[in-house]
């Protein structure tokens, strides 16, 4: 078998490990580092090094090796972590990421960058510890770890004394050439062959025997136990593997020392019989490697909470329950399911015309098909949903880097990370969100001294939150900074030639910052303030079918709310009729519907009509007017007024009739045609005909454009808005 088949697995695992490493580094409390976190960071580096070594990625291996050594000193308390050291570690992590990408693309990593980071890491080691890194043999790292493991075990097992005595002997040979016994539990024949072949590359296999349930290999090798495990872990679960150093090849089978210790262990558990003792014997080597892990699995009562093995096991368990699938494959399934649903509704319509008594089985079958098809659709759609954590997890680093650069003190709070969103949307929301976060950090939150003077805590707070709201997801970027400056925005807008007046409402003023080329920052920093951005943010979000709103309070802070549909592929719609034509309104925009009476309709400035709904006057827009529909009901009192909300504005849309509610598969009109005003997309109805989905916000815009057409000043304003949107 070719080892390159496992490259992709390694790259993906390594990427995840790097992500973990960064997260832990950022969470690390420098005054009182959590040993578990330090261990986790160390383990991540260690696993990457092991894998890189196996696959021959020498630059990656050496870089991680140096990082690992430094991390080990930190873990031992010999190296006191400071912010600049963590910065350096983060930088190294970025470098590792670059190297990984280079290998992934079949290139060699940048040698200069490698040399530079090596130099920096060595420098750090010399300054802080007075000795070099990178040159020491693996045993340096291997043995302390073993000692730690022994210590962990002593807390758990009484039998530890016997083994502690054996520990030095076990650890010692791993540095030089030594004999190792590798035991594989429940490994399939195919994997086993591969593993044995792999072991052959690491040393000389002198003996192998056993069956699928338990297979033993005796290996003569200079490789350390940890490295062997790191290599094997790409193929088998840690639980399935144990590696133990043995004294001599003379007793490779059921080694006497293990048997002794194992039976000592088994005596702790009450029932002593032949069978359990044998089972214990089989598991004994596994315990030698990771006692806490084995203990968690076999003897929950004795489990070490939050132990090293426990954490690792949980993680690997999660991984084995997921598969990686290219997005195109999922999209194809989603399209096919969409087709299936349409076909199903077409069949359903035909079947509904049949006589139920005569075609009982067929009708029953159709009902079953309908249920199954809907279930299938729901399950398929859920494949695309990913938690917002995917987006939020990249911000701690950004906040950390920027606060350092800006000299501010800012705490990042994230809420609702588990809120799910369509994968394609999560990828597209990252850029706009990054921009909003940068803005809040740079312009929103003040310098610590300023904050103190204003009677606020020196540490500013930036909150990122996500929550579901009907068929939408609401993402908020909230800061407790100075808020937007109304006067400044108005002045700047006037300077930029926008039509403004002092009587504009706050909401309207805040909308101005979405105009192109708008920035009120006194100084352009390299973080933000170049005035490109907010218009792009708004455009991107609108392109995703969402909208963005700003709320701001002077001295208290600013909240930017981004509302996005959960998915672009399916829409909860309300079908309405106007004349002979059927249209779909997105249900998320519909507030209510009512039949207007003549008393509630007021006219204003000639043609404009307003509808009074519970003491509120809403513009009354006739759909037939916007879309030039012939044969539609002209008398408003015979129509239905659907109250809609879009981009923070409400209006009433006059339609002939409500037809019903249904989920529709959204089909892009622009694939074969072009963007149509007032229409966002199309869908296919049960009878196979096409219905257009109305763009609620665009209808309002079109209406205002027409209404404003004669008035010159307002025309300019609406044009401006068009440019922005």
């Amino acid at each position: 078998m070719d080892i390159t088949e496992f490259y992709e697995t390694f790259f993906e695992e390594a990427e995840e490990l790097l992500g973990d490493m960064e997260r832990h580094l950022l969470e690390l409390d420098l005054d009182e580092p959590d040993p578990e976190q330090l261990n986790a960071i160390f383990r991540a580096a260690h696993s990457i090094k092991g894998g890189a070594g196996t696959f021959g990625f020498s630059v990656l291996q050496e870089t991680t090796h140096m990082l690992e050594n430094l991390l080990d000193y930190a873990r031992q308390g010999e190296l006191t972590l400071r912010t600049d050291i963590v910065d350096l570690f983060l930088e190294t992590k970025d470098m590792l990421h670059d190297q990984l990408n280079a290998y992934r693309n079949g290139d060699e990593p940048d040698p200069e960058a490698f040399a530079r980071i090596c130099q920096t890491l060595k420098q750090l080691a010399l300054e802080e510890l007075g000795r070099g890194v990178g040159s020491e043999p693996d045993a340096e790292i291997a043995s302390p770890e073993h000692v730690t493991e022994k210590a962990e075990r002593s807390a758990v097992e009484e039998a530890v004394e016997q083994e502690a005595a054996a520990a030095p002997q076990e650890a010692a040979p791993s540095a030089d050439s030594g004999w190792l016994r590798v035991v594989l539990l429940n490994v399939s024949d195919k994997d086993r062959e591969l593993l044995v072949e792999e072991l052959g590359n690491l040393g000389t296999v002198t003996e192998q025997h056993g069956d699928a349930a338990r297979y033993e290999v005796v290996l003569e090798s200079a490789t350390s136990r940890d490295d062997i495990e790191a290599v094997m872990c790409f193929i088998v679960e840690p639980e399935q593997l144990s590696v133990a150093a043995i004294a001599a090849p003379a007793e490779p089978t059921q080694g006497a020392p293990e048997t002794t210790s194992a039976s000592a262990v088994s005596q702790d558990d009450a029932p002593v019989s032949e069978a359990p003792a044998a089972a214990e014997r089989a598991e004994a080597p596994a315990e030698e490697k990771a006692p806490a892990r084995a203990a968690t699995g076999d003897k929950p009562a004795n489990a070490a909470p939050g132990g090293k093995g426990g954490g690792a096991k949980k993680k690997t368990g999660g991984e084995s329950a997921t598969i990686r699938v290219p997005v195109e494959k999922v999209d194809q399934i989603i399209n096919l399911v969409g087709e299936l649903i349409i076909t199903q509704s077409m069949l359903d319509q035909t079947a509904s015309e049949l006589d139920v008594a005569a075609h009982g089985p067929l009708v029953n079958g159709m009902n079953l098909l309908q249920r199954n098809a809907r279930d299938l659709q729901e399950s398929v759609m859920s494949i695309r949903m990913v938690p917002m954590d995917y987006v939020f997890s990249r911000f701690p680093r950004l906040v950390r880097d920027l606060t350092g650069k800006l000299g501010k003190d800012i705490e990042l709070v994230t809420e609702g990370q588990s809120t799910e969103l369509d994968k394609s949307l999560t990828e597209r929301i990252i850029d706009p969100l990054t921009h909003l976060v940068r803005n809040s950090l740079d312009h929103g939150i003040e310098m610590p001294d300023e904050r103190e003077a204003a009677g606020k805590p020196r540490t500013g707070q930036l909150t990122l939150s996500a929550q579901h709201q009907g068929g939408n997801i609401l993402i908020e970027v909230k800061d407790d900074g100075g808020g937007l400056n109304r006067e400044k925005i108005l002045a700047k807008a006037a300077h930029n030639g926008l039509t403004v007046s002092d009587s504009m409402s706050d909401d309207e003023v805040w909308q101005l910052i979405f105009a192109a080329g708008f920035s009120t920052a006194d100084q352009v920093s390299d973080v933000s303030g170049r005035g490109v951005g907010m218009d792009v943010v708004k455009r991107n979000i609108q392109a995703m079918g969402g909208h963005v709103e700003i709320q701001s309070w002077p001295g208290k802070g600013t909240t930017t709310r981004v509302v996005l549909p959960l998915t672009l592929a399916i829409l909860d719609g309300m079908s309405i009729k106007s004349g002979p034509e059927i249209f779909i309104l997105p249900l998320s925009a519909v507030l209510e519907s009512l039949q207007p009476s003549n008393d509630d309709i007021y006219s204003m400035a000639g043609n404009d009509k307003l509808l009074k709904v519970r003491d509120e006057y809403l513009p009354l827009i006739a759909l037939y007017d916007i879309l030039n529909i012939e044969g539609a009901e002209q008398d408003p009192t015979q129509c239905i007024a659907v109250i809609l909300q879009a981009e923070g504005r409400r209006y009433a849309l006059l339609v002939d009739d409500l037809v019903g509610q249904q989920q529709v598969v959204v089909k892009n009109l622009e694939t074969n045609y072009r963007k149509v005003p007032a229409i966002s997309a199309a869908t296919i109805l049960g009878d196979g005909s096409v219905a257009l989905i109305l763009d609620v916000a665009d209808i309002n815009r079109l209406h205002r454009q027409r209404a404003n057409a004669p008035k010159h000043a307002e025309l300019t304003a609406s044009r401006q808005e068009d440019v922005v949107s």
């Binding site: 087709e339 349409i342 074969n672 045609y673 199309a682 005909s689 096409v690 257009l692």
Partner: protein, 164 residues
């Protein structure tokens, strides 16, 4: 001499192309058959508001939304009726699927390049830019339309020009 002519003719023959011939009123038109995806009846077309009159709307072609263009309206023909004979030729141009309404499809013909004469400058309705030439076939004349150029042209308003 005659051998040479035959050889030359053979060379030209290899450059011959197949065309789908369709009628608009009493005129006969032809399009490159490789651009044609399928031919279907005219039915179930959903109107698009505020679109030019020759864009009849969109229809569902096995789950794909396809715009339908009536070339008879575009070419200002007198009689535009939708009856049993009216068919839609679904063509594939510039990675798009578009249906064109015609009065009928007659046959598929092979035209060699010497049967295709250059198109003269036309009137206002159909610019010579959208024609590959005129096919002469005994007493028939076929107007060979460069359907890709025509449908992606600005005046057809099918494709957003900025996006190009």
């Amino acid at each position: 001499m005659s051998d040479m002519t035959q050889a030359a003719e053979a060379a030209i023959d290899t450059q011959s192309q197949e065309y789908l011939v369709f009628s608009l009123g009493s005129e006969e038109y032809a399009v490159d058959i490789l651009k044609v995806q399928e031919i279907r009846g005219y039915e179930n077309v959903t109107r698009i508001a505020n679109a030019p009159d020759f864009i009849k709307g969109v229809t569902n072609l096995r789950g794909v939304i396809v715009p339908i263009v009536d070339l008879r309206i575009k070419f200002h023909l007198d009689k535009v009726e939708y009856e049993g004979q009216t068919v839609v030729i679904v063509v594939n141009v510039a990675d798009r699927v578009v249906g064109i309404v015609v009065d009928g499809v007659s046959d598929v013909m092979t035209l060699s390049s010497d049967q295709i004469k250059p198109a003269p400058e036309f009137g206002e309705t159909l610019s010579a830019d959208y024609l590959s030439g005129l096919g002469s076939l005994e007493d028939r004349m076929l107007v060979i339309v460069d359907i890709e150029k025509l449908l992606t042209s600005e005046e057809m308003a099918l494709v957003e020009q900025q996006a190009q």
